[in-house]
Every structure is written in structure tokens, then in C-alpha cells.
Subunit: 437 residues, 2 copies
């Protein structure tokens, strides 16, 4: 062998990569999420990894940390083409997709999307530059039935319960309630009030009240806002509590009715998973009705693992239609990484194999291969051991890869097949046509 | 509404995007491919979308049309980091992955990988710049059992038969046979011979013979090579035909034995899907043993849909280990697009929904929602119609989305549930706890 220059590769900060045993669990997560989305009839779309920079610019999104792509070997033809950037979320791509294919889609358009997105962030702990997001949205023409606001919450609770991430709680509110409350109190600019309410979980009631007073409220109004922001109920009883504040406004009444309807549609869910929490705000601009956040109860500082809400105008930058929607998103990679570094993933098998079929001898290869095929046709994942070696060595291979069963085809004609459960050590005779786990 | 500037989005050449009904089929394809890979015990890995340009350079691969990525808003810190490029295949990433995680992997390492890859090609018809590839490889330390050369062929035949792509044929050869034949004939430089043999399918025997003569062979030797290149057998009988050429060489004998062994392991596959075809070469450098190509019999001009082979050194650029392997790859997007533009995809449903549950009235929402949940828990994909509207309108929704069943919960208490098969028009009473398709 020639002596060669070796370039020792290193991990690239912010671009995660898993060993097979971790990837197996990531696949299980993604399968589960997809299964739940589809069980509610949502269709999958996949958009290209890139969008034109002009598309991002039209939606006013070029301030984000985006990655542009360029051919390494450029030539004069490249100048004629639009610049492309890797997408940094799945909302801009959805808006562009709906606008571009508007005439070919059925509305309400119920889609899910599970793709990688990229953000050119400065590297720091726990921040990925490439990660999976799982988004689900319903887009309507001119309106989206309120039904979907509760359906999306139910879907996400179904999903999160299936991921074994420990106790969590989804908090739901409706932006119209706070907007209506401010209007009813004669507050002209609700922005600083919203910002103060948004912070209550972090800074506490005393500090929040200070912020409210600083923003120009008198003590009575600040007290009302503060009372409002601490209302949390597991059912629709928040309505009475808000009404007891003695403020009335049409938008407030509408928000209360909407959130009450959403909560009433979620009563089939076991207590504790869903909470009407009127301090939930989700930023200032985008959302106009229902808003969702979800926290891990064991670590509320981790921030929301699943968020979203109702918005009024998805794609106005790309098409002259009024397309409101409601959507919710799981930051899959972020949550997965959290569970991984906290050793909460149940890491086990290193491959999807159910059964290793041993090779009794090179002479018996055809029979062993046939056994493997029979088991495979019956739906099992089956490896045939590749080369005749001592059975001990073949067993060691199964053990190392944590394969749960080892199959022994007859070593001599007329003998029965046998199967060994590697966990219990139990070994029994078995028929490849009828054996069950 | 304010008048807004609208930016009408256009498709980006080379970056495919499907409507939901096409995406559904793409998902079905990918699920099937994954299922077969896993049924043979292969594990999934996923690598980042990018590699360091230095990693590509170490393997000598920077001449390809690669896309580099750069942060749109660069700052002085960017200079300290390696330049990154989107991967253009899954072989360089596999090599880098195996080198980087060598001590944590089990060998033979059986992995599959189904990711998007990117090539910054000049746009032209049928050429994608972003596309899916499905790769499967077995990597060994110092050697890879010949068992896998036949296993990979069997896997790919299983996969392609399940995709409904019409008749196809996998052609298999072994590079050692032609190398050994050249050596046995005293030909010092086999490169021009290999190139000529590679062209026989395209240019025919007469032109191939001309090329052989031009490359310096005398008529006898050219005739032998030509005879060799036309040998095609459905079993291992090619061995006799090659021996009848009267040339002998150790490498030739080894290649014949290997290919015979591979063909003998594939006799369980129905006749016609696999052919030993000694004209198959697959380029000049990389492959050192078994080589595979696969053609669509209805359009042999389309080129190979599934190719690969055995190579001697996967990751020598990154690690001081001898890691030979055998691998095979389907150009999924290319094949899918071919089937799509030739109207060979069975496009039907626009969503994964099995059953639309009608809403008999707003008063009956809870009962209808419960019915939907019961059916969902039993494994069906179920949409609840969102808002009370005339039943005709609800049915029209199911029809437009090609949902196969519509469920009617009782309109009045005491009445039975009913279900309508939208294809046959048959409507029967049914119980959400027991109904089966």
C-alpha cells in the first residue's frame, strides 16, 4: 500500500449526526409523528431545500441567518439566475407552495411537513444549524373553521404522549382576549402590555406589574391585567374569571368564545395535558387568534417544545388571496437532542434486525438462505449470517448488535429448526412458516 | 386590505416539488424501499447535508459540480471556519462517517441511506439539482464476504419488483473477469479495452471491434474480447463459455468463481430479472469485483436505474484502515420522474385519509368526534368534517379528495351508524368498534 495523506474528519459544529442505535430511535420518533399526522388525514408535502432569495425578501425574511448556496465553479451563466438560499423554516416554503399551486390544491388544505431546515447561526451549545422540524397547518380560503384549532392541539398531545418524553403540558390562549381586554380598558397601544404579559412566567408578578405601570397604566388597570395574566384553567372556567374582571369588549367576547370552544373540544384528553393559560402570547405580530405553547414539566426552563397558533394571512406576499391558517410545530431535533443528552432515549438495538439466521455450514447455505427468505416474507427483519464460522462467533455477532432472536436451521437433515431468545436464553424448536415472536 | 407588492413565485429549475397526490406515491416508494432494506437487517444512517470542502478535497472530488453554502450576513468570525458544501452523493459521506465513527461501529457494517443530494449542474431537461438517492452498502474491515454481493442484488430485485415500474433486468458482471482475460492475453493496458467493451450495447459489435483493433489488438485477440463481451447467461453457464475462449489467468479464474457464486445464490429469483452480462463494466477506476447495472426493458436508452459494485478502499483518505465494501444505489428521483412524466404512477387519493366522518349537526359534534377517535384508535386515518354543512357538501369534499369511505354517525339518537363505500356506492350500517374495510 502506498503511504497516503490522510485527512482526519471532524464533526461539523451544529450539524448533528447519530450512530445507528440513536438514528433508530430518531426514525421511530419520525414514524410516530407521521403516523399521528396521517391518522387525522393530513397530507405530506415536501418542498425543495432552497427558496429564491427574492421569495424570502418578498416576505421580509432576509434578516434571518440564512445560508445561500453557490456553485463552486461559477461561470458567466450564473449571473442570469436567481440566488438561492436554504430554507430556515417551513412556513415561507408553505406560503410559496400554496400560492404557486393554489389552483391545484383542495381547501381547507391540511398538510404536514417534516424536513430539515438550516440556520446560519454562530455555533453555541445546543444550537443546531441543521435540524428537523415537524409542522402541521390548515390553510383556508378566506376562513379556517375553528374546529382545526382544537384538532391541532389534540394531534400534538397524541404525538407527545407517544414519544415518552415525560410529563408535559400544552398551554393554549387566544390573542383576541388580551387585545379585547386592552381595547376595553381604553389602552391604545397593546404592544408593551403584551410584552409584559409574555414575561410573567420568567420575571414573576411583581416585576410584571412594574413593567405595566412603566408602560403608562394606572394601578387599577395594571392590577386587572395582572389578574388576567395569572388565569389558568383546565377547562373553560377561565371565561367566568375573565368576565369577573368587569371589562367588556366585542373582541374580548369573541376571543373568550373561541378559546372556550377549543377547550370544550379537548375534554376527552386526560386532565393535565392541556391548560387554558391566558399569559400565553407568542410574540407580537404574526398570530391573531389561538396560540399554543408546550412545556416539559420536569424542565420548564427548556422553553416551548411545540408552539404555534392562528394567523390571518399566510401568503399575501405571493398571491392576491386571503389565506388564513392555523399551525403548530415541533422542533424535533432540539427535543430529541435534549432527551439524548439527558440519557432519556431508550437506546438498545443497533439495527432493525429481528432474527439472525445462523449458517450451519457452507453446504447448508441454500437451506439457511431459504429459511431467511421464508421468515422475511412473513414480515420479520432477518439477517443471514454471511460466512460459515463457529456458532459461538455467529452468536457473538447477534449479541454485539443486540439482535433479539437467533435461528438455527437444521444442522443435519431431519432435525428441527430451533430459535433462541437472546434475552431469556430460552431455546425451542420452531417452524419458519408459523413461528411468532 | 392594503394594496401590497406581490412576488409571484416560480418553480426553481432542477429542484422538484410534487402535489400531495404525487408526494403520496413518492412516500409509498420510499416506505417500500426502506422496508426491504430493513427486512435484510440494514440500519439507517443519515449524515448532514454538508461536508467540509477539505473532506471532499481529500477524496479528490472537488471537480464535481458542488454547491458551497455561505451565511448571507458574514462577519469576521466566518474566516476561521471551514467552507462547507452540500453533498453530491452518499459515498463520500459514508466514507467520512465510517472513518469518524470507526470504533463505535459493528463490522461488517450494513447501512442504508436515503437522503437528498445536490449537484450544481447547468439546468437541462430531466436533470435534477436536488434529488433523492437510496444507497445500500456493506463495509468490512480488510474483507467483505462474497455473500453480500448476491444479497445486494436480491435486495434490489425485491425493491424494484415492488415499485411497479414494468419489466426490468439487473445485469451483473465481475471486473476481475475482463482484467484477467486481458492479462491472460498479454494486454498491458486494459483501459482502452474496458472502454470499448463498455460501449458495445450502444455502438454495436462492428464498431466495438474497430475500437479494439484501433487500441492495438490483433484480429484474434479482438475477436476473443468481442466474443467475451457478448456472453450473457441467466445462470452460471457463462463460465463454460468464457473457458471456451481458451485464455487462462488466475484473476480470470477468480472472477469467474465469484460471479458464478453470486449467480448461484440468486437462483430463487424468477427467471429474467437477473442476468450475468460480461459486457458490464461500470467505469474504469472505482470497482474491483462484482458490478451491477439495471435497465428498464421498455426503454433501455434510459440508462441504468440501479447500479453499483464492489470496491477495495472506501475510506483510505480519512483513516489508516483497509475498508473494502460492496454497494448499490437507486437514483430514486430520476426513476420516479421518469414514471411520472410517462403517466405510469397510479395517481389517486390526494390525502392519506381512509374515512371521512360526517358531522350530522353542530349538536352532534361530540358524538361525531368520538366516532372519529374510535376509528382512529383502530388504525384508520380519519378526518372529521370540520363544520356542519349540508351532507351533499360534505360528500363532495370526500369525493374531491378521493377519500374511499364516508361515515355517518346517527343523525338521531338510537339510529345506527352507517358507512358508504365511495367507489361502489354501497351504504351499510356499521359499528365504529368492529367495522373493517
Amino acid at each position: 500500500m502506498m503511504t497516503k495523506q490522510i485527512y482526519k474528519p471532524r464533526p461539523i459544529t451544529g450539524f448533528p449526526e447519530w450512530l445507528p442505535e440513536v438514528r433508530l430511535i430518531e426514525q421511530r420518533w419520525m414514524d410516530h409523528i407521521r403516523r399521528v399526522f396521517e391518522s387525522y388525514g393530513f397530507c405530506s408535502i415536501e418542498t425543495p431545500s432552497v427558496e429564491e432569495i427574492d421569495v424570502l425578501r418578498a416576505k421580509g425574511e432576509v434578516d434571518k441567518e440564512i445560508y445561500v448556496i453557490e456553485r463552486l465553479h461559477k461561470d458567466e451563466n450564473d449571473n442570469g439566475e436567481s440566488r438561492l438560499a436554504l430554507h430556515f423554516d417551513q412556513t415561507v416554503p408553505l406560503a410559496r407552495y400554496v400560492a404557486q399551486h393554489f389552483n391545484e390544491l383542495d381547501f381547507p388544505f391540511k398538510r404536514y411537513q417534516m424536513q430539515k431546515v438550516w440556520r446560519g447561526e454562530r455555533p453555541q451549545a445546543g444550537r443546531f444549524r441543521e435540524f428537523y422540524q415537524c409542522d402541521i397547518d390548515v390553510i383556508g380560503v378566506d376562513n379556517v373553521p375553528l374546529h382545526f384549532d382544537s384538532e391541532l392541539a389534540a394531534i400534538m398531545v397524541d404525538i407527545l404522549r407517544g414519544l415518552n418524553i415525560g410529563p408535559f403540558q400544552m398551554q393554549i390562549s387566544n390573542r383576541k382576549i388580551l387585545m379585547g381586554l386592552c381595547a376595553g380598558l381604553g389602552i391604545e397601544d397593546p404592544a408593551p402590555i403584551t410584552r409584559a404579559v409574555d414575561k410573567i412566567e420568567k420575571i414573576g408578578e411583581t416585576e410584571t406589574k412594574k413593567l405595566l405601570i412603566e408602560s403608562g397604566l394606572n394601578d387599577d388597570k395594571a392590577t386587572i391585567i395582572l389578574k388576567f395574566a395569572t388565569i389558568k384553567t383546565q377547562d373553560s372556567s377561565f371565561v367566568e374569571q375573565v368576565l369577573a374582571l368587569g371589562v367588556s369588549h366585542e373582541t374580548l367576547a369573541q376571543g373568550l368564545a373561541e378559546l372556550a370552544s377549543v377547550m370544550n373540544q379537548l375534554t376527552h384528553i386526560e386532565k393535565g395535558f392541556v391548560l387554558a393559560d391566558l399569559s400565553i402570547v407568542r410574540g407580537l405580530d404574526y398570530y391573531t387568534g389561538t396560540v399554543y405553547e408546550t412545556k416539559l414539566l420536569e424542565n420548564t426552563d427548556f422553553g416551548s417544545i411545540c408552539s404555534g397558533g392562528r394567523y390571518d394571512d399566510l401568503a399575501g406576499s405571493y398571491i392576491n388571496k386571503h389565506l388564513p391558517g392555523v399551525g403548530i410545530s415541533i422542533g424535533l431535533s432540539r427535543l430529541f437532542e435534549y432527551m439524548r443528552i439527558n440519557n432519556k432515549l431508550e437506546i438498545g438495538a443497533k439495527c432493525p434486525t429481528d432474527i439472525l439466521v445462523c449458517l450451519p455450514s457452507e453446504d447448508k447455505r441454500d437451506e439457511a438462505a431459504q429459511t431467511a427468505r421464508q421468515l422475511r416474507e412473513r414480515g420479520f427483519n432477518v439477517e443471514l449470517y454471511h460466512t460459515y464460522q463457529k456458532i459461538k462467533k455467529q452468536m457473538a455477532y447477534a449479541e454485539k448488535k443486540a439482535i433479539p432472536f437467533v435461528w438455527f436451521p437444521p444442522f443435519e437433515d431431519g432435525q428441527p429448526h430451533e430459535i433462541k431468545n437472546m434475552q431469556t436464553g430460552e431455546q425451542t424448536s420452531a417452524d419458519p412458516q408459523t413461528w411468532e415472536k
